[in-house]
């Protein structure tokens, strides 16, 4: 077991976890941040996507111990209290959330993309979401929400 010092959504947290605990498990089971979802646990579905130092990563294949000293951002860090942020609102307005299970991961992947590339083309949006599967929406509404964001709509 190890004591880990993590900074999640701007807040310091100390958790005890096995040496090689995965970030996803620590977030969900120890910090009760269940916004990152378990979909496959093998780095294919992206439901567990969070950002570490701004980069989108699949938290099911990241060692929590390695995230010490880094900024971890999860969906719970988006928006302000009961207020959604602009990208979250656009996701809803465009119907980018059906069952919603992929939503938090999609949102984090989209944020990483938009930060890297504020004016992505449609193809760049598709590439930016290449680690996130969605079975409900057919992706198009998600693309639309991201493009609307970059247009300032």
């Amino acid at each position: 077991m190890a004591l880990l010092d993590l900074k999640v959504n701007g807040q310091e947290a100390q958790v005890e976890a096995p040496d090689t605990a995965l970030l996803l498990d620590v977030l969900r089971e120890r910090l009760f941040l269940t916004g990152a979802k378990r979909g496959c646990e093998t780095s294919h579905c992206g439901c567990c996507t969070v950002r570490v130092d701004g980069m989108a990563v699949h938290s099911c294949v990241v060692l929590a111990a390695r995230c010490q000293g880094k900024e971890i951002t999860t969906v719970e860090g988006c928006g302000d209290g009961m207020e959604l942020d602009r990208l979250q609102r656009l996701f809803l307005e465009h119907g980018a959330v059906q069952c919603g299970y992929c939503g938090p991961g999609m949102l984090m992947a989209a944020k990483a993309l938009l930060e890297r590339n504020p004016q992505p083309t449609l193809d760049e949006v598709k590439k930016g979401l290449d680690g996130n599967l969605c079975r409900c929406t057919g992706y198009t509404p998600i693309f639309d929400a991201i493009l609307a964001y970059s247009r300032g709509a």
Binding site: M1, A2, P18, D19, T20, L22, E41, T42, S43, G46, T49, M55, A56, V57, H58, C60, V61, V62, L63, A65, R66, A109, A112, L113, K127, G128, L129, D130, G131, N132
Partner: protein, 291 residues
């Protein structure tokens, strides 16, 4: 039962840990390793974290070629101005590896050591005459990648070694990597890298063409007979087609849920031809450099 995490601060510590923990494994990006552990295909007693090891980083241009630290992530390969300038084919292949999240963390060293059939970097590194720079606590050695890839998910890496760098040739050449997959983020059914060196005496002819093939067979390989046949050739449609046909006989293809051996063989012919023509075009366009 619990797996330990060892965090060495430099290469010596890492190598010492590697020697000490005989049931341990180095962890690079963890993208494949942690999946294997989750699927209970392996259960190492310790993970030796290579992230803090400075000696495994950096991309250096040397007189003979370029030396790439094993811990460079695909993301870093893509972003590297040096690579883009000198060997564009490598970042272009790195861009085709899996998904954004995997590219953000997965490393060139991990990609090579994992040696998964269908991985994108091995064929390119083969075609760039890549060499694996290995170290164990007491000494080091260098192995050409053709000898490093020994079998299905197997390499020449010894249990106490760490892959430190991959050295590639500074090619005065054009290079292309073509990936055939159902969707771009999948492992390649067939991935072909072609690097062609122009013949400075005879415009339009190639002094040398090097072909790396991944996905098609259990082990990535160089199509050496095809390469021999192409020495000095002018790469037109006809030659490229013949080269493709020849290459497809050099590959011991296998079947899996994605494709049969027969289909893979045909695709080797198609993609070797296409890659060679692409590379030839590039060569005519801008002499050297790469796409």
């Amino acid at each position: 039962m619990e797996c330990k995490l060892i965090r060495p601060t430099d290469l010596d510590e890492a190598l010492a840990a590697r020697e000490e923990y005989t049931d341990g494994l180095p962890i690079a990006g963890g993208q494949s390793l942690l999946v294997m552990m989750r699927n209970r295909l392996i259960s190492p007693g310790a993970l030796i974290d290579l992230e803090p090891v400075e000696a495994l980083r950096g991309i250096e241009v040397q007189s003979t070629g370029i030396s790439i630290g094993a811990m460079n992530t695909c993301r870093q390969l893509i972003a590297s101005p040096v690579l883009r300038e000198e060997v564009g084919v490598l970042p272009s292949a790195a861009r085709q590896v899996s998904s954004t999240a995997v590219r953000n963390l997965g490393t060139i060293g991990g990609n090579v050591c994992h040696n998964e059939p269908g991985a994108d970097l091995p064929p390119v590194l083969l075609a760039l005459n890549g060499r694996a720079v290995l170290r164990r606590r007491t000494h080091g050695r260098e192995v050409p990648l053709e000898e490093f890839f020994t079998g299905y998910f197997e390499t020449a890496l010894e249990a106490d070694e760490i892959l430190c760098r991959i050295d590639i040739e500074h090619p005065n050449a054009a290079g292309v990597y073509l990936k055939h997959a159902i969707s771009p983020e999948d492992l390649a059914i067939v991935g072909v890298a072609a690097v062609v060196v122009p013949d400075s005496e005879r415009p339009g002819a190639v002094a040398e063409a090097r072909i790396g093939i991944g996905g098609a067979a259990p082990v990535p390989l160089r199509a050496s007979r095809t390469e021999a046949a192409l020495k000095g050739a002018v790469l037109d449609e006809e030659t490229a087609r013949a080269a493709g046909e020849l290459a497809s006989t050099e590959v011991d293809t296998g079947s899996d849920p994605h494709a049969s051996a027969g289909y893979r063989r045909k695709m080797v012919a198609v993609f070797v031809r296409r890659a060679l023509l692409h590379a030839a075009n590039q060569m005519m366009g801008n002499g050297h450099g790469a796409a």
